[in-house]
Each structure stands twice: as structure tokens, then as C-alpha cells.
Amino acid sequence: MEYEAVIGLEIHVELSTESKMFCGCSARTFGEEPNTFTCPVCLGLPGSLPVINKKAVEYTAKIGLALNCEIARSTLFHRKNYFYPDMPKDYQISQYDLPICIGGYVDVETKDLTRRVGITRVHLEEDTGKLTHISRTGRIGEADYSLVDFNRAGIPLVEIVTEPDIRSPEEAKAFTQKLKSILEHLEVSDCNMEEGSLRCDANVSLRPVGSEELGVKTEVKNMNSFRAIQGALAYEIERQKAILKRGEVVEQETRHWDDAGNVTVPLRTKEYAHDYRYFPEPDLVPMELSKDWIEEIRVTLPELPDVRRKRFEEVYGLPTHDAVLLISSKAMGDFFEECAETYPDAKRVSNWMMGELSMYLNAANLEIDECAVTPRHLVQLLKLIDDGTVSGKMAKSVFEEMFETGKLPKVIVEEKGLVQITDREEIARIVEMVVEENPSVVEDYRSGKERALGFLVGQVMRLTQGRANPQLVNVLLKEKLGG
């Protein structure tokens, strides 16, 4: 039997507001000394009370509007009750049946198709503290003791829940990337998966192709990178498939993605069997969001990735494939536009960004705005190619150098004496030398082995440290050999 995967995602995003969700503490606490950004409210000390951060509500409404949701005119917070040491109050102020945003969608482009993924809801809550379990495994069950850092407690957290519209790990990854890009364009979150400001959980089930019924699902947690999302879901789908093919049933449970082991493992269900006993938070009053306020936010929304992509296609004449990749993060799109302002051939900018730049970024595991190469670097390099100062091949080694050192291409070219040799006589002299030194290869070429030419070109380039203009080398070699 053929199976189809049914995937729904729950994505948690820490908002980049100045202060926390319900108190005045700074929300910029990542990497700070533990428990230094706290107060009676975010520590849940007896007698303390929450006060809603209006900016966080505004950010959430922005997200909802960007995801084509309806914004609730009347909304309120609930308490989600459960005991856990990372929760100062042993309840989390969250939202339940009246979230700020409901019913939207995101169009996700993958290689094969565009999938419309429904957004069930977007709600606002407070983040918990962070536990560090002191044990060999880092798991709470085996810990000798645990340390709690409440710096993160109370940071505004938005939960985005999708419909089970996603059908493959690739789509899940593409959705998350698209969502991240939207959030970046809205400037409401750092979206840093490694630092945990964007976290993704998935509900996964399988069903026979053509069936409308949903199978038993598992919840997969701890996917902290796009690679992890794809890997974890691929693993989980295969795992469930194997179970179903054996004629067994999938157990409904929560599973943890083990990034190092490349497997999902079950979490002990005992720790997670909860009746959250939601009820309206009596320390807060219901929020009325006026139509005018919502409209005000709607008109101030920035250009979003879908519109930007179309503009890239129309204004810069880029193919859809390029435009999709360039808007995959806000920084990428911004980089491209800054280049395109001062360099006329947008497609070439795009090629270099998707080629060399992306390659080095991936290898160094950096984001585009974290690396030393700026639009000024790239544009200067492209201009050096255009005016013949360097060849395309030399440009690649210049690129490597500037990626590592941050030096401008002109500086690198000068320092290394990398100026391209375009002098016809100089190249001709070297060509003559190479032909004389390699009689057998020359013989091969003359007897019809075209590939031998490549070797000879390579020799010329080697002797000029790659500085010879490659076209000229070709022309002169052919002239020499043909003559």
C-alpha cells in the first residue's frame, strides 16, 4: 500500500519586543548571566501581577495579518496549569479559545508545486525559564540536580499552528523557511533557531493515498534547524511506514528528535500526561481590539516576501526560481537589492549570491548578514570582472579571500598582484613554451583528442598563476596548434 504523510506544524516564535510579556524586564536576555533579567512578576513571586505588553499584542496582530488571518476584535488570556520547574507560577499565561488571530494561510513554493498551508491560529503567551539538567545524559529523569534560569521566563512567545496541510518533509522545511522570512520582513522576531527564538514542533501521521481519514499521529519535538525539521520528519515518516507495513498500529505519543543520533525517541509519557485546566486569567481583563487599530496595523505592514518576490521578477527580470531563493530571508533580499541599486546586471548578482556566496555561507554555517561580504564587496568584484581586471576564475579565488578576510576585492587584487594578463604577446610566449614542453599531448590533440587542449590551457594558467585571460589562452593555443 502507498502511504501519504499528513503533517501539521506548531511554531513558537519569541518576539523581539524591548520588554517581556507581562513586566518591564528587558526581553533581550540571550547569553546573559542566569537570573539577572528578572523581577517579582516574571519570577512569579507571591502577590505579583501581570500587565500586558501592548507591543507584543501589536506584533501578534501583525503576524496574523501577514498570514492572512482574521484578527479577533475581542480576545483574552487563559491560564494553562501544569507543574514544571521552569514555570515560575506553575501555570503559563497563554490563550485558549479566543486567540488574537484565526484562520489564515501561507502559500509555500517547493520545487514541484505551490502548496497553500492553512493557519489555524496564532496566539500569544509567555515563554518559560530554561532548565539545565546536570547529568551525563542531560535528561531530567537521570539528573542529579537541575538549574533554572528565569531570564527567558516571560519573554513574549507567539504560537503559530498550521492545519495538517503539509505532505512532505521538504514542504515542512519550505513552510518554516517561508514563515521565518515573513517574520523577518515584519521585524517582529530574531527568528534565530539555534538560540531558540524560533522553535518548531510537528504532528505527523500517515494514511493510505486517497484516504480522507487521518491516521494516528505522533508529535515530534526538538527540531532546532531546517535540516533537523527535514531529517526528523523523514525519519518519523519512515518509522511509521514500517510500523503500518508490519500491520501494527502507531502509538500516539510525543517523540524527541535526537539530532546527533538522527532518530526520534519517545519521551516518557508520564511526564507529559496533562489536563491543563484552562480558565480565563483573572488577573487580566479581556482585550478589545478596535477596527481602527487593526486597520492602522494593516496599512503599516511592510512589503512581504510574496510581493517582494513578484517585484524581483518584474523589476529585475529574475526567473521565479531565483526570486524565491532571494526572498527566503529578509537579509538575502536586502543584500540583493543593495547590489542591484549599483550594478545593472541583476541576474549576475543573483547567480553569484546563489552560487559562491551561498556555498561559503553554508560551509561556514553563517547567515548572510553575519558574514564579511557586503553588497559593496560583491558589486566591486563584478565590476572588476567586467573591466577585465580579473577573470571569472580569478574572481572566485578573490571571493574566497574576501569572504575570509573581509578585504575589498580591489585591495586583494592589488596585494596579490592578481591583475589579469591580457597582453597578447606575453600569453603567446607562454603558449609557445607549453607547446614545446608537451610534445606528446600536442600529438594527442592533433590526432583528434579534443580533451588534450584542456590540459594545455591548464598548463598556461598554472604558469601564470591563473592570471592569464582564459579566452585569449584558448584562442592563442588553437592558433598555435592549428598552425
Partner: protein, 485 residues
């Protein structure tokens, strides 16, 4: 007459005339405490050193030309569920037996800003759950009128302290009657303001949608003075109201001619002791003699208020008290621990008293999946009906009256083992919390030698009329008896 026997406004007059210093009443109160506290046990913590040094400081400031506020130097007793920076705040619970807050609650801070001097922290039913102050981890407080009887609760320590002259004024908190009922049983004035009038910031929560801080005083004038000081919007409490606050002492005119007063039928019948009913009937006759028009009024849903209250309050409490888990502060079980869950359950089993556990279980159940609608949801609907009942009544009446407590002070131990009977102690006061309206209890006589309280209820935010009626009654009635200690 000793200074501790006086009211705040009397002491203020003397202070302004230069007849006394701020330190004088403070010393007098501590002398009184030394004389009677052994028999009353109103306090969990006394802060004599801090109080006297604060009094000295205020004296210095006043000599330096600082204006004398109406409550300058007045010794206040604070219920032990209001956070006080650097001073033990136990909620009369073992689980907070060692808890010292890092900040001061707004209401107390506002008193401090007016140069009020704190005497100490008063005993109470654990986490304000109870009507007798018997549910305290630190001993039972006794009623100054008869040490064999309870002072009421949960603010029993505050009421007893004021009644026994161990403080001039006190703060209590009132979730279902916890200010008014002990005030009635101890023969003093106690007021629960409109929900949201006084900030709850720093009040250790019992039931967030019902809790309200208010004054317990020797007379209505002091009540207005303390209310003036503690009320008003606080940005730290989202449920605190942004409204213009009148000067409540302006309500103390003594004239209630033509005011319409509704006598709540449901709170005058079954379950009200004969002696209490007689006193209240006489009080109503007195109000009529002052020119008020008194008529019976029925609030048909009041019969359900106790049931609704005992779902809503425990539900909120079950969540509010979750944080006392031994992880960050307060008591933690010393026992050997297998795992985290065991640490939680042992800590809470050992740290909480029986009544608190009973309500946590009740509330947890009421919020559980599958029961929420039938219990918590239904109780909220009843609450709405009660609010509507009051709204209708206030279309016709300026204030409503009833007994504050169905009985006078009862014997220690009499209701302790019978929770349902204990819960009935708040039958007259609970509807006021459910409706969020203001209510005051003023002494209206003695029955069997024990004080009876008259409850006066007003429209939301109409403390002025409530105080006006209370003051007029007090002036005419002239309750001058004092407990013999």
C-alpha cells in the same frame, strides 16, 4: 485615656496641635501589645524596632517642616498576606513560614508614603481561607470580647488587633467576607471596597477575581481616611480601575434624609441568629428615624451565591497556589526524594493545612476537563445573575442592608471540623464579592455580650453613599462599648 484607645483622626488632631509626637501613639500601642497580646495573639510578626525608628524619622521630618498627613504616624497592623519588603510574609502558612518578600505591596506602600507606621503583620486563616482564623499555622487568634470565641476570619488578626487597641487601624483582605465578618465579630468597622478600587499588587492571591484589600478601623471616619490613602489606579494591577477618586471624608455628613435603603430579604431569614436579627432590625428602624426610606427587596439568586463562590474561589485558588512548590522559595520537604513529582507532592502535603488542601482539590476538580462547564462555567453564569440582581436592586435603592454575619462570634473549635457550617459564616458577605460592589460592616449592638455587625452595600464605585450611611448610623447609634481585657 491612653493614646492606643484613640482613633486615627483623634490622634491626628493632637499631633497637629503639638500635644503628642508621632512616637507617642506608637509607644502606647506597643505597651498595649505587651499587656494583651498573650491573650489575643493577633500578630504573626511584630516589628517594634522598625516601627519606632520609622516613628522617630517621621517626627524628625515633621519638625523639619514636612506637612502632617491625615495618617501621619498612625500605627497600622497589616494582614500577613500583603508583601512587606524585608519583613516576613507568611500568609499564616508553613509553606511560606520563612518567606521574606523583596518588594512591598502597593496598598502598604501608599500607607508608608503617608508616614503611617507599621506595627506588625497579623494572623489570619491560612491563605485567607476560613472564617475564624483557626486555620493558621501559627496559632489561633482570640476574640477580645471573649477569648473563648473566634475573632472571625480570615482577617481575624487585623480585626482583633484593632478591637483590642493593639493597633489604631489595620488592613485586611476580603474575598468572601474576610474583612467585614471579623470586623462584625470584633465590634469594629471593616470595609471591602469596589473590586478594582484598591490595587492587589503585592497581595498574595487567594481568588484573584474576588480579592480586595480594605480598612479595618475603630470608626467610619478612620475607614474613610485609610481608604483615601490606599485606593486609586495602579499600573501594576491590570484589574485596578482608572477612575476619579473623591475625598471619602466628604461623605461623612451625618445626613441620610430621603435615601432609599433596601433590606435584603434573602439575608434576613433562615440561618440568621435571633439576637443578630433583632440588632439589625433595630438598626433599620434607626435608619428610618433618620429619614431614610427602608423597604424590603428580594435578590432571588442570592441563594446560589455560596455554591457559586465555593467553585469560583477554589478554582482560582488552585491555580494561584500552584507556585508554592518548593522549587524557588518557601518550605521544601526535607525528605529523601525519588523524583520531582515526589518533591512537589511531599512539599505541598507538608506545607499546606487541611482547609487549603481541601480548596485546592475542590478547585482542581471544578476546572478539570469534562467538569469545567458544569462547575466553573455554571458558577460564572450564576455570578452574572447575581450581578444583575444587584443592578436591578440599585435602580431602586441607594444602598442595601443586611446582617454582616449570621451569628455573633462562635466558640473556638465549634465549626472547625464542620467545613460546610463554617462556610455558612459568609452567607451574607459573599454576594458582595461576587458582584464586585462595596460593602461595609459597622457595629450595631451586642447580642449575648458579643458584637453584631450591620452590613451596608452600595453600587460599584459608590463608596461615598455607603460611607455616608455608615457614618450617619454610627453617629446616631453611638456604639461605645469596648471589650473588657
Amino acid at each position: 485615656m491612653d493614646l492606643h484607645e484613640l482613633t486615627a483622626h483623634e490622634l491626628n488632631r493632637m499631633l497637629k496641635k503639638g500635644e503628642i509626637s508621632v512616637t507617642d501613639p506608637c509607644k502606647s500601642v506597643f505597651e498595649r501589645i505587651k499587656a494583651v497580646e498573650d491573650r489575643i495573639k493577633a500578630y504573626v510578626t511584630l516589628t517594634e524596632k522598625v516601627a519606632l525608628s520609622k516613628a522617630g524619622e517621621v517626627d524628625g521630618n515633621l519638625k523639619g517642616g514636612k506637612a502632617i498627613s491625615p495618617l501621619a504616624g498612625i500605627p497600622v497592623a497589616v494582614k500577613d498576606n500583603m508583601c512587606t519588603k524585608g519583613v516576613l510574609t507568611t500568609c499564616a502558612s508553613k509553606i511560606l513560614g520563612n518567606y521574606v518578600p523583596v518588594y512591598t505591596s502597593t496598598a502598604v506602600e501608599r500607607l508608608f508614603a503617608q508616614d503611617v507606621v507599621m506595627v506588625g503583620k497579623t494572623n489570619m486563616d491560612e491563605f485567607a481561607m476560613g472564617s475564624s482564623t483557626e486555620n493558621s499555622a501559627f496559632g489561633i487568634t482570640r476574640n477580645p470580647w471573649n477569648p473563648e470565641t473566634v475573632p472571625g476570619g480570615s482577617s481575624g488578626g487585623s480585626a482583633a488587633a484593632v478591637a483590642a487597641d493593639e493597633a489604631i487601624v489595620a488592613l485586611g483582605s476580603d474575598t468572601g467576607g474576610s474583612i467585614r465578618q471579623p470586623a462584625a465579630l470584633c465590634g469594629v468597622v471593616g470595609m471591602k471596597p469596589t473590586y478594582g478600587l484598591v490595587s492587589r499588587y503585592g497581595l498574595v492571591a487567594f481568588a484573584s477575581s474576588l480579592d480586595q484589600i480594605g480598612p479595618i478601623t475603630k470608626d467610619v471616619t478612620d475607614c474613610a481616611l485609610v481608604l483615601n490613602c490606599i485606593c486609586g489606579h495602579d499600573r501594576m494591577d491590570s484589574t485596578s480601575l482608572k477612575v476619579n477618586i473623591p475625598d471619602y471624608t466628604k461623605a461623612l455628613v451625618g445626613d441620610i434624609k430621603g435615601l432609599k435603603i433596601g433590606v435584603v430579604r434573602e439575608l434576613m431569614g433562615e440561618g440568621i441568629e435571633g439576637g443578630v436579627r433583632d440588632s439589625v432590625d433595630k438598626a433599620i428602624a434607626l435608619l428610618e428615624s433618620l429619614g431614610a426610606v427602608c423597604e424590603e427587596v428580594s435578590l432571588s439568586h442570592l441563594d446560589y451565591s455560596l455554591s457559586a463562590y465555593y467553585l469560583i474561589a477554589p478554582a482560582e485558588a488552585s491555580s494561584n497556589l500552584a507556585r508554592f512548590d518548593g522549587v524557588r522559595y518557601g518550605y521544601r520537604t526535607p525528605g529523601a526524594l525519588g523524583d520531582m513529582i515526589e518533591m512537589y507532592s511531599k512539599t505541598r502535603a507538608e506545607g499546606f493545612g487541611n482547609e487549603v488542601k481541601r480548596r485546592i482539590m475542590l478547585g482542581t476538580y471544578a476546572l478539570s476537563a469534562g467538569y469545567y462547564e458544569a462547575y466553573y462555567g455554571q458558577a460564572q453564569k450564576v455570578r452574572t445573575l447575581i450581578v444583575e440582581d444587584f443592578n436591578r436592586a440599585f435602580e431602586k435603592f441607594d444602598v442595601l442592608v443586611s446582617p454582616t454575619s449570621p451569628s455573633v462570634a462562635f466558640k473556638i473549635g465549634e465549626r472547625y471540623e464542620d467545613p460546610l457550617r463554617m462556610y455558612m459564616s459568609d452567607i451574607c458577605t459573599i454576594p458582595v464579592n461576587l458582584a464586585g460592589i462595596p460593602g461595609i460592616s459597622v457595629p450595631c449592638g451586642l447580642a449575648d455580650g458579643l458584637p453584631v455587625g450591620l452590613q451596608i452595600m452600595g453600587k460599584a464605585l459608590d463608596e461615598t453613599t455607603v460611607l455616608r450611611v455608615a457614618y450617619a448610623f454610627e453617629q446616631e447609634f453611638g456604639f461605645k462599648q469596648k471589650p473588657a481585657l
